[in-house]
């Protein structure tokens, strides 16, 4: 399953690349891409795990940027 989400209040480009690599390490993730400039997260995962992974991704995002959030 592949979906695109908007992330708001991303301020730090360096953090974004760290978030991206952390989300990619989650089990069940096929690919995750965050574009700092368009503020978009493209998440592709195994179907059954999608919602769970999205929640974990949200956590990772707030670890690096407490103000940023994924719009679902």
């Amino acid at each position: 399953m592949r979906k695109v989400f908007k992330i708001i209040d991303l301020d730090c480009a360096d953090c974004v690349s760290k978030m991206e690599s952390d989300i990619n390490k989650l089990t069940g993730v096929i690919s995750a891409r965050i574009n700092f400039l368009t503020q978009k997260l493209t998440l592709e995962t195994e179907d059954s795990a999608f919602d769970d992974i999205l929640m974990q991704a949200q956590k990772i995002v707030t670890i690096y940027e407490p103000d940023a959030s994924i719009l679902v």
Binding site: D14, N35, I63, Y64, P66
Partner: protein, 635 residues
């Protein structure tokens, strides 16, 4: 400004006011030694905490998650460290500096966030050519619907002045379309019933009823926007290098900072507080943000700026490679030439007229729809009287014989003339030569050729001026045609009579020659329809005239929405400019940081220098990156 930024600004202003007040309170006049030091500490801690509490919180959180080396952590250590110098009662105190560093860091961060937001907006606004509604007739009334809800086969209405929301076919009405948002071209396009229309164009004059052929997400405008938005995901070598560099840069600078703070005082007995301060300055400079933000932003704005001119670049990596093109290989038909045949000259023998020759040829070819026949009929200004044509027979590959107005007419190539035993004078002009004879009498010939595009010559000149060393043409056409085109356009090289497979092997040879110089690369320009193998084989494949052609958009790395070769030079110039800005930013950011690091190590730089080298440099680099968006063709 976003809500978050506004709150941020208010906090900074409050902290700023308190800071200025702290500077002017004459504490030492009413608090005695040694307590006045602690009192000063307190009055500066207040604005410091108001300005930077979030930085401290983030840093604390990061430590809990085991993620040190981030900006917040480094800033916190650097400023708290400066406050901690209070533990050395004899050392010079830096409370006010420390609070100011946090304050300025926050001002810088806010401005940076604002600048990034601005750039994001100005680029996305320019690319905001996706209409947000479609008019549909429901029970006789027009209703505005979300384009997403329109299905294939639905009929939509586009009023004058509105943007076409979805790709489709005109079923009713005629108008002019403004395609500039897609092609960067201001010439309007005429359309009428039966024509295809493309989403993103603006309907100018008439009301159109369009039958939708593609759903919203498949429509041209969505696909183009997606391409441009995702282009920065394909990272350029420079960018990957910077990311890798950033990964080592921070830990190394932090390590040096620690060594600097500890070693000289410990081994050489120098003053602890002084060397700790030098170490703290290192920490402030250790964030690679300026580079990490400005490099992708430069590419993004370069790609965004290009898309406004009808040049789609599908990745930062392609933009980077385009800047280093040394060999440019062109397909002929449809790229340098229009790909349509035209009568370019009519040469009558003495006693015959041009009009007569064209009339005979047009009548003889009346029933044929071969491209050559079409071009002759187009050149003939009179009307064809079909009742005058009798017994017309096509001699395959040679020409046509017919009886027109009672005269035996032969029109065709040299072989047909020989066959009919007609004496003719051979014409060596490049192109297809059609000899015309009436009653076994040679009247003259017509030369038909594929015509050059009006801007081809200028385009090659501009491409060369942009720094391309070698322009090569590959064509399946005959030698004399290729030779002629190459001469007119002053190409460096041409290879004719190539089969599709020959084109690939010829291109591979050229690739090897180009790659002999490691920095050089090769681009192939074609119409994207028949030359997919060559397009993919080249370092960069450029497809032209791609508006409405999905196949071409798919196959190429760079897509020119219109079919003007002059856009190639614009694309090269634009990529060079963008790369120039990228290198400028890298050099500027790195040298500013290194200089401040060196000055700090020898004890000249202050915290102020460090804050400039961190946020100041980042802001300047962002502003510089935005220039890539505004590069104009005249530059």
């Amino acid at each position: 400004m976003t809500k978050k930024q506004k709150k941020w600004l208010v906090r900074i202003i409050v902290a700023g006011v308190l800071y200025v007040m702290a500077l002017f309170i004459p504490l030492s006049s009413f608090i005695k030694e040694p307590y006045n030091v602690y009192a000063t500490l307190t009055v500066f801690l207040i604005p410091y905490l108001i300005a930077g509490y979030d930085v401290l919180l983030k840093a604390a959180k990061n430590i809990r998650h085991g993620k040190i080396f981030d900006e917040n952590f480094l800033m916190s250590i650097a400023t708290l460290g400066a406050f901690a110098l209070v533990l050395f009662p004899h050392a010079e105190q830096h409370f006010s500096e420390s609070a100011a560093v946090m304050l300025f860091y926050q001002i810088g961060e806010l401005f940076q966030s604002y600048a990034v937001g601005k750039s994001r907006n100005s680029i996305t606004e320019m690319m905001d050519i996706a209409p947000d509604f479609a008019n549909k007739e429901i029970d006789g009334a027009l209703v505005q619907l979300d384009p997403e809800s329109i299905a294939i086969g639905d009929e939509i209405i586009i009023k004058p002045g509105e943007r076409i929301p979805l790709d489709g076919v005109v079923v009713e009405g005629a108008s002019q379309l403004e395609t500039s948002a897609l092609t960067g071209e201001s010439m309007p396009r005429e359309i009428q019933t039966g024509d295809d229309v493309i989403s993103g164009c603006v309907n100018m004059t008439g009301r159109l009823k369009v039958r939708v052929t593609k759903v919203s997400s498949e429509s041209t405008v969505s696909r183009i926007l997606e391409l441009v938005e995702n282009a920065t995901d394909k990272k350029a070598r420079t960018e990957t290098f910077i990311t890798r560099f950033a990964r080592y840069y921070t830990p190394i600078v932090v390590a040096i900072a620690v060594l600097l703070a500890i070693c000289p005082p410990l081994f050489a007995g120098l003053d602890f507080s002084d060397w700790i301060e030098r170490g703290l300055i290192f920490l402030v400079v250790s964030c690679p943000c300026a580079l990490v933000i400005s490099i992708p932003l430069s590419f993004f704005s370069g790609i965004g700026g290009a898309s406004r001119k009808g040049i789609l670049i599908k990745g930062s990596n392609y933009l980077e490679t385009l800047a280093s093109v040394a060999t440019m290989v062109f397909d002929k038909t449809g790229t340098l030439t229009t790909g349509t045949f035209q009568v370019i000259s009519v040469d009558p023998e003495p006693g015959a007229t041009q009009e007569e020759i064209l009339s005979i040829a047009a009548h003889a070819e009346a029933y044929s729809d071969h491209p050559i026949a079409t071009s002759i009929k187009e050149a003939f200004s009179g009307t064809i009287d079909q009742s005058s044509i009798k017994d017309e027979t096509e001699e395959s590959g040679h020409g046509i014989r017919a009886n027109i107005d009672g005269s035996e007419v032969c029109i065709g190539n040299a072989k047909l003339m020989d066959e009919c035993h007609i004496e003719y004078c051979e014409c060596k002009d490049p192109g297809t030569v059609i000899y015309v004879a009436k009653d076994a009498q040679y009247l003259g010939h017509i030369v038909i050729a594929d015509t050059l595009k009006p801007d081809s010559k200028q385009a090659i000149k501009d491409i060369k001026r942009a720094g391309v060393k070698r322009c090569v043409m590959l064509t399946g056409d005959r030698l004399n045609v290729a030779e002629n085109v190459a001469k007119i356009l002053s190409l460096d090289e041409y290879h004719s009579q190539l089969l599709p497979a020959d084109k690939v092997s010829e291109l591979e040879r050229l690739l090897d020659e180009t790659h002999a110089n490691k920095k050089d690369s090769l681009a192939f320009v074609g119409d994207g329809i028949n030359d997919a193998p060559v397009l993919t084989r080249a370092d960069i494949g450029i497809a032209m005239g791609a508006l409405g052609s999905d196949a071409a958009i798919e196959a190429a790395d760079i897509v020119l929405m219109n079919d003007k070769p002059s856009k190639i030079a614009s694309a090269i110039l634009l990529s060079r400019k963008t790369m120039h800005i990228v290198y400028e930013n890298i050099t500027f950011a790195l040298s500013a940081k290194i200089i401040v690091l060196l000055l700090a190590a020898v004890g000249i730089a202050t915290m102020w220098f460090a804050v400039f080298a961190d946020v100041g440099v980042a802001i300047l680099a962002i502003l510089n990156a935005m220039r890539a968006f505004r590069i104009s063709e005249q530059d």
